[in-house]
């Protein structure tokens, strides 16, 4: 055996690695291997098919809006639309700001300081994801409305005239913002925490050595580097707020989705609803553009060699207030809803009124409904992740405007109000697939479309984060492109992909309007049960399904906790 390591690599392997790679952009193809072409075209066709199905509601809506009479458009612009637009934008801005502030502050506290009990807080601050915002709204209404628990307690305790004890106003911008923000801040907290955790210590050290103090370093180095991750989370929050229906209807805060819903009240006007939905899409486009811009910047921030974890700052005297703040958020976002629901459920069980007894009949099938929810959500999440693979891989490997357009089409089902999505799918299925229409599979399809963006949000960064280097190495060792996908790309992206499954599962479990619209008779999911009781103001009977929903979502989450956290971590890390 002679020679040093330098000339030991066989030359033919290098050449085949260069030309045989599945990863060169289509435009720079040289000598194509048949299998690589086949794979690329399969990818493109698959992504097109997924995007087409996902964008069906969008096509239906756009078609109706385009063919709507001008009088419909004119009629919409008079009267309340500007005010409601203002309401909606105010809610979006307020909630996103609030969620970003809470999320980033908490992420900084748990990842960059010596906050006591940080591992516990990391877990406790991620859990509110399993509580849908309308369930939290329910709990807060029961607590804070006139005649609610706190009012009665204070009236009794202070001996005041009923109705005069001052209570915070839940039914307004402040209440809606607080309620929603406390449920969605994990969307910002999780990626921000990962981003803060994965910064290189050297960057902050360099800033301090350049003469900048701690605060300046935070503002000019730490936060800008975490900005892409924060922006991705903020986008999710914004989309959630825009398409939220249950919460704002419970809290009587009038937003765009309310207006769209109103088009179906009294006299059903689908073209007006379609026009409004198109306006909603237009509203969300700038948000998507901003996020795309920031995430593109984030792709430059690759991890450097010799990475070391960042330092933790000592809180010193600030330890107690910081801990108090963290505990406050955890209590408000997690403790209050669970405690209230538990109390309501107990009350309905131990001291039922007539109304309770009548209503509880509907909750007899709670086990069956939980199973329904779990099965159809798990199915939807699995299908969503599988479908997300093609568009995500296409966007990760061939990042150009067509693949981003395809991604945008896939996201459209989450931007449109759930009612609209459900309606469009009902139309499509009834016309083209009557066998599936009205069955649980139809509902599964609706939930899949709504969960697809969550799966995509994690799958794309996960696949992008697999260095092409490894794929090239595998090709040079003789694997076909398909085998490379299966043996290298998938396993390496698996943590991020499993995080995507978890997110998709959560979204499907919590989904309300699509389930309302598409469920077959006799097949109820838990969110449907919750709203049925809440709409009749029978809160004690809304509590058991709400608790079942939280438990049914949290338990699989805890079981997958390790993988899920690493997955969410992986997804968030590669997202910037």
């Amino acid at each position: 055996m002679g020679g040093s390591g330098r000339d030991s690599r066989p030359r033919p392997a290098i050449r085949s690695a260069l030309t045989g790679s599945a990863l060169f952009p289509l435009t720079r193809v040289r000598a194509p291997a048949v299998s690589r072409w086949r794979l690329t075209w399969v990818l493109i066709l698959g992504a097109l098919a997924v995007a087409f199905v996902a964008a069906l509601p969008l096509f239906v809506v756009a078609g109706r809006a385009v063919t709507a009479a001008p009088s419909v458009w004119l009629g919409l612009w008079s009267g309340q639309i500007p005010g409601l637009l203002g309401n909606t934008l105010a809610l979006v801005v307020a909630t996103v700001s609030f969620a970003v502030v809470i999320g980033v502050a908490l992420a900084w506290l748990t990842e960059r300081t010596d906050l006591p009990g940080a591992p516990l807080w990391r877990w406790a601050l991620a859990i509110p994801l399993v509580i849908p915002a309308y369930v939290a709204a329910l709990a807060l209404i029961v607590l804070l409305r006139r005649g609610g628990l706190i009012d009665r307690f204070l009236t009794g305790a202070l001996g005041a005239v009923p109705g005069t004890v001052p209570l915070p106003d839940l039914f307004g911008l402040g209440g809606a913002t607080l309620t929603i923000a406390l449920c969605v801040f994990p969307y910002v907290y999780l990626p921000a925490a990962v981003a803060l955790r994965s910064q290189d210590r050297a960057l902050e050290d360099a800033s301090r050595l350049a003469g900048r103090g701690r605060v300046t370093t935070l503002i000019r180095v730490t936060l800008p580097l975490a900005a892409p991750a924060i922006a991705a989370g903020a986008l999710l929050v914004g989309l959630y707020v825009l398409s939220d229906f249950g919460t704002v209807s419970l809290l009587r805060y009038r937003t765009f989705t309310t207006v769209i819903f109103n088009q179906f009240a009294g006299q059903i006007d689908r073209s007006a609803a379609a026009c409004l939905s198109v306006i909603l899409i237009v509203l969300t486009t700038p948000m998507l553009a901003v996020e795309a811009l920031l995430s593109r910047r984030g792709r430059r921030l690759a991890a450097a060699s010799g990475w070391r974890p960042p330092r933790r700052h000592a809180l010193g005297a600030w330890r107690v207030p910081a801990l108090g703040g963290v505990i406050l958020v955890a209590v408000l976002s997690l403790g209050v809803p669970l405690f209230t629901l538990g109390g309501l459920a107990l009350q309905g069980w131990l001291a039922p009124t007539d109304v309770d007894r009548v209503w509880s009949v509907g909750n007899d099938g709670l086990g069956q409904q939980t199973l329904n929810s779990l099965v159809v959500s798990a199915l939807a999440a699995t299908v969503a992740l599988t479908c997300a693979f093609a568009p995500a891989l296409l966007a990760a490997r061939y990042p150009s405007w067509p693949s981003r357009v395809l991604l945008g089409l896939c996201l459209s089902a989450a931007i449109l109000p759930g009612l609209i999505v459900g309606l469009a799918l009902v139309l499509f299925l009834a016309t083209w697939a009557p066998a599936v229409h009205g069955t649980a599979l139809g509902l599964g399809l609706g939930l899949t479309l709504r969960a697809l963006p969550s799966a995509l949000a994690a799958a794309e960064p996960a696949l992008r984060g697999v260095p092409p280097l490894f794929e090239r190495a595998a090709r040079s060792l003789g694997s076909s492109p398909v085998a490379v996908l299966r043996r290298i790309t998938l396993p390496l992206a698996a943590p991020g992909l499993s995080g995507g499954w978890v997110l998709a599962f959560l979204t499907a479990m919590k989904e309300l309007p699509t389930a309302l619209m598409m469920r077959p008779p006799g097949f109820d999911t838990l969110p449907v049960r919750i709203m049925a009781a809440a709409n009749e103001s029978v809160y004690t009977q809304a509590a058991p399904p709400a608790l079942a929903l939280v438990a049914a979502t949290a338990l699989p989450l805890l079981l997958l906790a390790r993988r899920g956290e690493r997955g969410l971590e992986g997804a968030a890390r590669t997202n910037g």
Partner: protein, 384 residues
């Protein structure tokens, strides 16, 4: 052999696919298949079997024994209803015990969700019967051609003002538009006697009503417009807004707020008063506009219809007939304090008979005809 040679010696990729990572995929396949199996098991009963549709010209009220085979196979009907589940379930149970050969499945929702669903699934309807509590929505759907004519004699026996001529929709019960008061806060002599008292500044901030999402409220506005002129509607709406009326999407919240004392007056359907009273709230009721020259009492109805394209028309008609029969009517009257459309059915205790009051002279159909214009007008005047 060098290390490089050993690495390059590969087994065919296909074979590799079924080893380590292949197992991941096949596990996922198993999960999907298992899920599909579970789900299809769950949804099997919800697919209505195609039942043979007998000649629908036969009078459905006659006992169908003659036209049925000796061993009747259980037929299924799907009912879309906006009525509260808790209220509707006893009706279903009673029907099932009266007609054990018909299995009834219920899908609840709102007119918005169920009505639009009916429209979209026209090509392949899943529903057989549509029962709702908003006249305007029922007539709207009927006009859109979603309902089938109902030639049943029982339907024809209902007064013409309370049904479509060919039976495409028929009223099941009536409800009156009334004013509910909190008796602790409102003295008997202060009580309003007309709906227009609600815009009196002395009740500023003290009244609650449903907004434009509620069909009953819209119907009231149409009635005002039809009977007293559009200007009066505008005045009414503007007055309500100026009076800082509290707006709600449904009447349940109104009645509970009045019962709690959050405010003094509520513009609601009459049975909400009875529901609150049954809970022990200190409430009273006023049937408004009875004096000479005033509008009269406004009513609207709950309705039932046969869905066009239904596969179980005969059984669906049987169901509607049952609801119009004394047993069905009695359930609504007793449990929800409503006014049954059939004569001879006793009202619930404490419910004042409609015959005592002068009704506004406007038909249900006229209410629908004036809807679009009134709604636009009301929204322009500031109705939320």
């Amino acid at each position: 052999m060098t290390n490089g040679d050993m690495i390059l010696k590969v087994t065919p990729p296909v074979h590799r696919a079924f080893t380590r990572s292949g197992r991941v995929l096949s596990r996922r396949c198993l999960l999907t298949l298992g899920g599909l199996a579970l789900v299809s098991a769950a949804c099997a009963p919800s697919v209505p079997p195609a039942t043979a549709v007998p000649n629908s010209s036969a009078a459905p009220s006659a006992a169908p024994i003659a036209t049925k085979p000796s061993t009747p196979t259980p037929a299924e009907i799907t009912i879309y209803t906006t009525r509260a589940e808790a209220l509707f379930k006893p009706v279903i149970d009673a029907f099932t015990s009266a007609h054990p050969s018909i299995k009834a499945t219920v899908l609840t929702g709102t007119d918005a969700t169920l009505g639009t669903r009916l429209i979209e699934e026209r090509a392949s309807p899943r529903a057989d019967v549509y029962i709702n509590a908003d006249t305007l929505a029922a007539i709207d759907l009927s006009e859109k051609g979603l309902f089938a004519p109902n030639p049943s004699r029982t339907v024809a026996a209902v007064a013409e003002t309370y049904r479509e001529i060919d039976g495409r929709w028929v009223s099941l019960t009536l409800r009156a538009r009334t004013i509910m008061v909190n008796t602790n806060l409102v003295k008997p002599e202060e009580r309003p006697l007309s709906v227009f008292d609600l815009i009196d500044p002395k009740w500023k901030g003290q009244a609650g009503a449903a907004d434009s999402r509620n069909g009953a409220m819209l119907a009231s506005l149409v009635a005002i417009g039809a009977l007293q002129g559009d200007a009066k509607t505008v005045e009414f709406v503007r007055g309500l807004v100026a009076n800082r009326t509290k707006w709600f999407s449904g009447h349940t919240d109104v009645r509970k707020a009045v019962g709690n004392g959050e405010f003094k007056l509520g513009f609601v359907n009459h049975y909400y008063y009875h529901l609150s009273k049954a809970e022990g709230a200190p409430v009273g009721i006023i049937y408004p506009d009875q004096a000479t020259g005033q509008m009269g009492l406004m009513v609207n109805s709950t309705n039932a219809s046969l869905v066009a394209g239904s596969r179980s028309v005969e059984q669906a008609a049987v169901f509607i007939d049952y609801m119009l029969g004394s047993e069905g009517q009695k359930l609504f009257a007793e449990r929800n304090y409503e006014y049954p459309i059939a004569s001879g059915v006793p009202l619930a205790e404490g419910v004042a008979p409609l015959s005592q009051y002068r009704l506004a002279s406007i038909t249900l159909r006229q209410l629908w005809e004036g809807l679009a214009a009134t709604r636009a007008l009301a929204q322009r005047s500031g109705l939320p």
